[in-house]
Symmetry: C2
Subunit: 424 residues, 2 copies
């Protein structure tokens, strides 16, 4: 981690603000989405759990400061300031796993202008990436209707983004990831058995299956579509017996093949052998397999690229300076100034009805309302955080709480409206 | 960098292959695209320049091996093997900045099965990400018709992916990046001045502009659309004088605003002041501004997410075992086995006409043919590589060499065909 993961303009603004004396003004920046990706009905807050550590580690080393000074990006005063930098302000925001909608103030960063402005790029990178993956993954989990989903998309995205993507998918309800670094860093259950290359390496398919079963036991998954699927399934059961845990299909018309494979497995006595399908599955392809005898889905490309929405469109805007609301005035980008407080309102049944966001004040509280913000950092020190497993459970609860239309895969409006009440 | 940036199944395959004696078989894996993203006419090889270092650093530390063993992913024999692992095989491939088409064998990895299979995830992550960005960026550079483009999308993608994206965009012909880590790591020119927050921080716009000019000089760029653009431009020239280097417009109907801004600047005597535009620009929006008085483009979201194609769809396939071609047979995924050699054929004028790919042999060589593969690693040791600036120049040349239809932004077929000749 390096504080160079930032945009140059954060440092030129800092430089000018240090010179003119405004760097120490008390500021509030807010992260929010002006809109959801086209047709999406909710967003998922994701990445805040790993952001806290990144903000604390956000320091400029001596050589980095030297590089910035020598390349003329910053002057001497700013260079000295950067060498001592650490964030000592407050960060509040929606819990990881919380849903958000256009206008939800999902993260609030307060402190001096200088210390807050430097975090813009890092905060947006983490949240825009992780929220995009989590929202796509949550839709896939809904589409899977209780069947397990494995994240296996590491090879389709940047090598480090892959680890964060695995974490976001797990947050959203995936059961496993293929990514070993995600298993190591975040304790996410990992899975994975064999690729077509393993079959091709061997003299024939039975030899490959026998080798895999010898090494991994009958609790393994045999990939049966390297040559001919029918023969592949016969070979699999001949080698492993009907106790084989699972077969995987990675190509072809999966809805036809799943049924044929189930029938064949049953006829071979392998009635308990599971069927795992993979191969360019997105939420729509998963939904289309709902009636087929599929036991588990493997999702790759679509989840790690956000299934059509690879970035969440979150912005980081200055909303308050020394207690005074500020706002940019440009067409289509008007926002409400001032620090916001947000609650979500619910029916007595628990169904969410709307979000109320108040600028520079506190919303009237009714029965069923839930305050949406919590502390992440207080004076630069981390507040206690829920575990990833707890955040995962929180998201599951949130998805249950929205009106049922909100879970439809088809394009539609946000599941609940957000009313932003300006300062009076 | 950690060798845990991989999929679990690479290790389970390794484990089984070590047990059955096939781990040492001589293998050739190839990276290629079955198709280009819908409507795209070429792909751009990108990431190979940073891949070489990553492959050399791809080692498992003691604690990582311990974690894999304790969590049951690998057995003791495999754990010991992983502790000693380093890649000692060969990697050949297309030069960075080379164009590719469906079927082009862009990277060839040879060695034992064990050492090659472990690299699949890393290689595909790097190439799928960087090639996706480079291809989108190259289309934007074409659309900009010689005007400079700045990459400013770091906040829209994962924090580390942002650095690789900046590198890929520079490879593709962008002039600058806002990402400081990319400047530091790869020597890419960086740029960036101020955001709307800087104006909002100050008591009024003239105060903000005066501060910026005091700190950065008249060679800076003033962002004039925080409140009213006409007044913003008047304020900018009043503060900085007509020697101001540039203004930036980040919102509104840029084609109308660019002309109005140019007229106003001229009327204020600021005839040399440049106009930089930004705000959700993709290759089509850039092309639409061709006739307007714009001097430079800032591209953010669209470039870092590949402008509709966030991953390149490259695959890593075993094509040869102990000198014998191997191939998976499944519908729609048939490929030709055997190690490939590729040449690109050109007219005497220098225009590329086709790519010839021969399995297990060497293509007939004619005048104007160019061999497309080069060494990256020989017996695990790096071969001399071109610099990033040289690769950038190579891509520019390659784009000049394809038939003119290949540079059209509209959807179409690959710019040249690839003929794959099976082993005879």
């Amino acid at each position: 981690m390096t504080a160079l993961l930032t945009d140059q303009y954060e440092l030129t603004m800092l430089s000018a603000a240090l010179k003119d004396g405004t760097a120490g003004r008390g500021c509030v920046f807010e992260v929010f989405a002006r809109r959801l990706p086209t047709g999406r009905r909710y967003g998922v807050v994701a990445g805040t759990g790993r952001l806290v550590d990144l903000v604390q580690d956000f320091r400029f080393t001596g050589p980095e400061v030297g590089h910035l000074y020598e390349s003329g990006v910053v002057d001497e005063e700013t260079a000295t300031w950067l060498g001592d930098y650490r964030f000592t302000g407050d960060i509040d925001g929606y819990a990881e796993g919380e849903l958000y909608f256009p206008g939800s103030p999902i993260l609030t960063v307060s402190g001096t202008f200088a210390e807050c402005v430097l975090l813009e790029t890092l905060i947006l990178s983490v949240l825009n990436h992780d929220a995009a993956i989590a929202a796509a993954a949550a839709r896939m989990v809904t589409a899977a209707r209780g069947r397990a989903v494995i994240e296996m998309g590491s090879r389709r995205t940047h090598e480090e983004a892959a680890v964060a993507a695995a974490r976001a998918a797990y947050l959203a309800g995936f059961e496993y990831t293929s990514n070993l670094a995600a298993g190591h860093r975040y304790g996410i259950p990992t899975a994975g058995t064999a690729a077509h290359a393993f079959t091709l390496l061997h003299d024939d398919e039975p030899a490959a299956f026998a080798s895999q079963v010898a090494a991994l036991g009958k609790e393994t998954t045999l990939l049966v579509d390297t040559y001919d699927i029918t023969q592949g399934i016969r070979n699999a059961i001949a080698v492993a017996g009907p106790e084989l845990r699972a077969i995987r299909l990675d190509s072809g018309d999966l809805s036809v093949l799943a049924q044929q494979s189930r029938d064949l497995l049953n006829s071979l006595g392998a009635t308990e052998t599971k069927i795992i399908v993979s191969g360019d599955l997105d939420e729509y392809a998963i939904a289309a397999l709902a009636a087929e005898p599929v036991d588990m889905y493997g999702a790759g490309t679509a989840v790690v690229v956000g299934s059509g929405a690879p970035t969440a469109g979150l912005v980081y805007k200055l909303v308050e300076v020394d207690g005074r609301p500020v706002v940019k005035r440009s067409e289509n980008k008007a926002t409400v100034g001032g620090r916001k407080t947000a609650i979500r309102r619910h029916k007595p049944t628990g169904t969410a009805t709307e979000e109320i966001v108040v600028s520079q004040g506190v919303p009237d509280h009714r029965l069923g309302d839930r305050l949406l913000q919590r502390s992440y950092l207080v004076a630069g020190e981390p507040a206690p955080l829920p575990t990833l497993v707890e955040s995962r459970a929180h998201l599951r609860q949130c998805l249950i709480s929205i009106p049922w239309e909100g879970l439809k895969l088809s394009a539609g409006d946000p599941a609940i409206p957000v009313t932003v009440v300006p300062a009076t």
